[in-house]
């Protein structure tokens, strides 16, 4: 029998949620999008995925071990000497997390929104727009986490993680990936053309180069420092660098808070936009 007049399972599942706040936009099934992600991923282009991961590794090799020879040691925040490779490795870890998250949450989401049409389909089921937002952000976040794990697997044997706090770099990188995935999708949901999308890519490069990645921001005049410090990548670099160099104090919670706001804001705007675009 294709259908029956007793309450269907789908209805029973949904009615269990009906009393919860937010049940009109969230059904608690964002994970179903991850499932879909894995199914679709099986057949996707591995080269593209790998190239995004390789980039920060190449920077580490070229700058950390190449140019690092010429630079010699730097000082960490406590006046101890650190090798140049150990100085940039945390920044490149943060960058890995960012790259993974941003690739998926910008270009891939853009294609799905405008050509794949899968969000309309999802929203005609009993999913709500926030399920779709959280699920897609979660999928992008996974890629960020995968990149950072891969990066850690390379830098740890190289002796660039010198203390136990460094282990926290992995959850920190996940937090950073979450933040970028969230804001990336929110921004993408407002963009309409390839040109606008290129602006995102265009903005990413200077942020990568100048967020204290390859040299401390103290080289800038005060006002530039303030701008850089407002950028998410600097926040991430500072957080991970402090952990990997073992300079830990309560101020790190400030960075964590920054990313929590970024996650919440991105999620909210994405939800609102999905509703405006696909449920109008």
């Amino acid at each position: 029998m294709i259908t029956q007049l007793v309450v269907s399972q789908a209805v029973a599942i949904q009615e269990r949620r009906s009393a919860r706040p937010g049940s009109s936009i969230y059904s608690g099934r964002a994970s179903m999008l991850l499932e879909r992600g894995f199914r679709a991923f099986k057949s996707s282009n591995w080269m593209v995925v790998l190239s995004g991961f390789v980039e920060p590794v190449l920077y580490l090799l070229a700058f950390g071990f190449g140019i690092g020879q010429l630079i010699g040691n730097l000082e960490d925040g406590l006046g101890r000497p650190v090798s140049y490779a150990a100085f940039i490795a945390p920044a490149l870890l943060a960058t890995s997390a960012m790259n993974g998250a941003v690739y998926d949450s910008t270009w891939n989401v853009f294609f799905k929104m405008h050509f794949g049409k899968i969000y309309q389909v999802m929203l005609s089921s009993s999913l709500g727009p926030m399920d779709v937002a959280l699920g897609e952000i979660g999928w992008a976040l996974l890629r960020g986490v995968a990149y950072s794990l891969g990066f850690m697997a390379i830098v740890t044997p190289l002796g660039l993680v010198t203390n136990a706090w460094g282990l926290l770099a992995i959850p920190a990188a996940s937090l950073i990936a979450f933040g970028f995935a969230s804001i990336g999708m929110a921004i993408t949901s407002y963009l309409k053309s390839f040109q606008q999308m290129n602006w995102v890519t265009f903005f990413m490069l200077p942020m990568f180069l100048f967020s204290g990645t390859f040299f401390p921001v103290s080289v800038y005049p005060q006002w530039i420092q303030m701008i850089v410090q407002a950028l998410p990548l600097w926040q991430g670099v500072e957080l991970i660098r402090s952990l990997m160099l073992g300079i830990v104090d309560w101020s790190l919670l400030g960075h964590v808070a920054y990313f929590l706001v970024m996650i919440a804001g991105g999620l909210w705007f994405t939800t609102v936009r999905l509703k405006a675009l696909f449920m109008r």
Binding site: R36, R39, I118
Partner: protein, 312 residues
């Protein structure tokens, strides 16, 4: 959950949808009862899909009232959608997934268990006659197969109300008849059907009751038979004089029939007695190239109400 036959499952009052300043649906009223099969007819741009989307709770109305199973779509969207099966006009398949995965994943969106879906997907692939194409990417299916897959997808959650926006467009005649048969069976099981179509034979076959829409408004409402009775005569005579001459003979013919309709390729004459009228035409010295007497159909109702033929 066994409901009385008279239970109203969809109720629209003064339902309105504006896109910016453009009014796509202009204050329409209708009710759909449980187990009924309800049709929406109308020319392109009449507002059928827009109405379907509002009922499916994927588009927000801008005015009037709408309840589905007694629930307000603005605040209970996911809950309402759990009861509905939606087959959109554009198939909107997930192109990155295989045919069977399209069904499976969609079921997962409803939170259905893998175990349940394993069986369900097989059942539906068979229903859509796609068992052999189960591992094809959605993109690699033919247009008609995609349509069938989209219809099967709409049944994954065992809906009480099935929303079908032009379900048979693009299907070959055989697939069309098979689908009609399946829809009949669903109806027998108590599923409420809401259907839009451009095929009058389909509407006559499938719909217990229908509304004819044009420019966002309802022009008429009733059962196919009642509409024919109300808006058309018993019989229709179709005559052709050749493309340029149709207009020329129109005034003469007008006097013979109750009402005439001049189309680009032919003239339709409405009357109670077709053969008699045809004889009169010939007696009047008019010699159509071809002529035909037939019973009046929904097509004629549609033409009368909207001033347009259906199949463009």
């Amino acid at each position: 959950m066994f409901a009385k036959d008279s239970e109203v499952v969809i109720r629209a009052k003064n339902l309105t949808k504006k896109y910016k300043d453009f009014v796509a649906v202009d204050g329409i009223d209708f009710e759909v009862k449980r187990g009924e099969s309800f049709g929406l007819l109308g020319p392109n741009g009449a507002g059928k899909s827009t109405t379907m989307k509002m009922i499916s709770s994927v588009s927000q109305r801008t005015g009037g009232e709408l309840t589905i199973l007694g629930k307000e779509p603005n605040t209970h969207g996911p809950e309402i959608r759990a009861h509905l099966g939606v087959v959109p006009q554009k198939d909107l398949l997930d192109r990155e997934l295989k045919a069977w995965e399209n069904l499976f994943t969609y079921g997962r969106y409803f939170g259905l268990s893998r175990k349940f879906l394993k069986q369900k997907v097989e059942e539906l692939l068979e229903f859509a006659q796609l068992t052999e194409k189960r591992n094809s990417k959605a993109d690699d299916l033919s247009g008609g197969m995609q349509r069938r897959l989209a219809i099967a997808r709409g049944l994954v959650n065992e809906p009480e109300i099935l929303m079908l926006d032009e379900p048979t467009t693009g299907l070959d005649p055989q697939a069309r008849h098979i689908l009609w048969d399946r829809l009949f069976r669903l109806k027998e099981q108590g599923v409420t059907l809401v259907i839009t179509t451009h095929y009058m034979d389909e509407a006559e076959q499938l719909c217990d009751r229908l509304i004819v829409m044009d420019k966002g408004k309802i022009m008429a409402e009733g059962s196919p038979a009642a509409l024919i009775k109300q808006y058309s005569s018993k019989e229709v005579v179709e005559v052709r004089f050749g493309t340029d001459k149709n207009e020329k003979f129109a005034p003469q013919l007008e006097e013979l029939a109750d009402r005439i309709e001049v189309l680009p390729d032919r003239i339709l004459l409405y009357t109670e007695k077709g053969e008699e009228l045809l004889t009169k035409i010939v007696d009047a010295g008019l010699h159509p190239v071809t002529s035909l007497v037939r019973r009046s159909s929904l097509e004629d109702v549609f033409l009368r109400l909207t001033g347009r033929t259906l199949v463009e």
